[in-house]
């Protein structure tokens, strides 16, 4: 929600800082209102930046100074497994979310005003529903005697073991992250001139060719922005994998908690936190670049 909203509601020009020359204007007292920023900045400095800096510091100094914790992280097979599992889970979530969102976003552009409102409301429901409520609901739905298994049983497909498995985690996470995929896709798709596709068709392209040769390439910026957003958010998930996944299939967030809370290994936990944070920030820079290159705001 966060980043979509950021792009949506706080466009960059809202911060008029410098003139066209790139120099700060020199009128007197121009910087005075900046005083109003001080309380918020203080709070964020003490209770956000400082703890993160401490975590970083401990990652390099506990128990010994140096890269010991990072060497440990990248040379322990179990940790590499966790890292790979985190990546594959996030990748699965991204792929499934994309496959579900692409036709859905297309339907949003094809629908009439009322249909579009309904589809938009439906995709925003996960935003409104508290994380704990949703995760609890998925526990109920996915459990071995749950709704889904009963339904699958009726049609002769079940029962399938869903909870405490990676499948369960993916199902729960995709539902949560769908809006991050649908909204950028819709933003890009709604700006595409349909006549391009019609032109291709009238020149003899078959529907599939027209789609693959004309429509799909035009939507790629949306695909890139949405996929990166979903992937990066999925990397840091904690509650959903902790409740829907198996403890044997822990993701990096759960592993960080185990190190810090269970084993009191602040240095190692911090190092894993640094790895997670680093990956997140690197991917977010990619998101920013992908969004900027299209010269389009990702918004509804």
């Amino acid at each position: 929600m966060a980043v979509v909203e950021k792009a949506d509601r706080a466009p960059a020009p809202s911060v008029p800082t410098r003139g066209r020359t790139g120099r700060a204007p020199r009128e007197r007292g121009a910087g005075r209102p900046a005083v109003l920023l001080i309380p918020a900045l203080l709070l964020v400095a003490v209770f956000f930046a400082y703890p993160l800096a401490t975590m970083l510091w401990r990652a390099f100094t506990e128990p010994d100074t140096g890269f010991g914790n990072f060497t440990w992280f990248f040379t322990t097979d179990a940790n590499i497994d966790v890292l790979v599992r985190t990546f594959t889970t996030a990748l699965w979530v991204t792929v499934v979310a994309l496959l579900l969102s692409y036709p859905y976003a297309y339907a949003m552009t094809a629908a009439g005003p009322r249909g579009r409102t309904v589809l938009t409301l439906l995709v925003l429901v996960p935003f409104w529903t508290s994380l704990m409520v949703r995760t609890f609901a998925w526990v109920v739905i996915l459990q071995d005697t749950g709704v889904l298994n009963k339904t699958l049983d009726l049609v002769g497909l079940g029962p399938v073991h869903l909870i405490r498995s990676q499948t369960g985690v993916v199902i729960g996470m995709v539902q949560l992250l769908m809006p991050f995929m649908v909204l950028p896709l819709y933003a890009v798709m709604s700006g595409i001139d349909r006549r391009y596709v019609q032109a291709a068709r009238s020149l003899g392209a078959r529907p599939l060719t027209a789609f693959a040769g004309v429509y799909l390439p035009l939507t790629l910026p949306g695909v890139a922005a949405g996929s990166l957003m979903v992937f990066v958010s999925a990397l840091g998930f904690y509650i959903t994998p902790a409740l829907l996944g198996s403890p044997d299939d822990a993701l990096i967030s759960q592993q960080i908690v185990t190190q810090v809370n269970g084993l009191l290994q602040w240095g190692r936990g911090g190092a894993m936190g640094v790895v997670l944070l680093g990956m997140t920030l690197a991917l977010l820079v990619l998101v920013a670049l992908a969004t900027r290159r299209t010269g389009k705001k990702v918004s509804l």
């Binding site: 809202s14 975590m55 609901a137």
Partner: protein
């Protein structure tokens, strides 16, 4: 034509899947059986009675409301001031300040949580009301700043100048001109701040103590511990409350953009 039908059927299925959790939780809270079997075979309100009769749940609920209201207050005041500073000041480095204030939105929850936990252990803030309020305020700030900045940037500064020319002092100008104009942004920011705090789980799990827990924390331990539909009753109440608040915030935002 066949393609259209298929597309709509697909969207229907996806839609059901998106709202399924809510559709399951509400009926489940009215079941008469002490198990999480869906669909319920009989109906009762006993899980709501259970909720309000169990101090673990009621305390958590009261704590959540208390923390939420305090966070709303602090985040709205600090966030509105910061938004004013960001839109009004002309200084280098402002984008940096804005980035710093918005960054809590993008840092993974667990990373922020262990950092906060370490700090709170040192400052003895674990399990305190102050600790919850401070940690949640950091997370809620961006959700206040974004709508307030948006309404400030669409705001005609000449109105304030007009008030000043007509003899209003700076405080009077702020109270009678600026504030009413940005009020919808401030109110929707306040509502989002409350919801952010009310729903927060990850950090809360770390900074809670047996003596001070919030509703999501109590839900988390209940999911992992027992299979008692009281949690469904709690979930239904949370859904009702947050939906009402978010709807109010969305309507306010919609009215604001129409008014422009």
């Amino acid at each position: 034509m066949k393609g259209r039908v298929a597309l709509w059927a697909f969207c229907g299925l996806v839609g059901v899947w998106l709202v399924a959790p809510v559709l399951i939780v509400v009926p489940l809270s009215f079941t008469d059986k002490p198990s999480l079997v869906f669909p319920p075979t009989g109906w009762s309100t006993r899980w709501y009675e259970n909720f309000f009769g169990d101090p673990r749940w009621t305390d958590a609920f009261v704590n959540s409301i208390k923390v939420g209201l305090l966070v709303t207050l602090t985040a709205t005041v600090l966030g509105t001031l910061a938004a004013l500073g960001l839109t009004r000041a002309r200084l280098r480095g402002l984008p940096l300040a804005q980035g710093a204030l918005l960054s809590p939105m993008i840092v993974p929850g667990v990373v922020f949580a262990i950092g906060t936990y370490a700090l709170f252990l040192k400052m003895q803030l674990v399990g305190t009301l102050l600790g919850f309020v401070v940690a949640h305020t950091v997370l809620a700030l961006p959700f206040v700043m974004i709508p307030v900045t948006a309404s400030l940037s669409g705001f005609d500064r000449r109105l304030e100048q007009a008030a000043a020319v007509l003899g209003a002092g700076r405080l009077t100008t702020f109270r009678t001109v600026t504030l009413p104009m940005v009020a919808p942004g401030v109110v929707s920011g306040a509502l989002f701040a409350f919801v952010t705090s009310f729903d927060e789980v990850v950090v809360s799990l770390f900074i809670q103590s047996p003596y001070l827990q919030t509703l999501p924390v109590q839900m988390y331990s209940s999911v992992t511990r027992d299979t008692d539909p009281t949690i469904a009753a709690a979930a239904t109440m949370i859904v009702t409350l947050t939906t009402a608040i978010v709807l109010a915030a969305t309507l306010l935002t919609a009215r604001r953009s129409r008014a422009r």
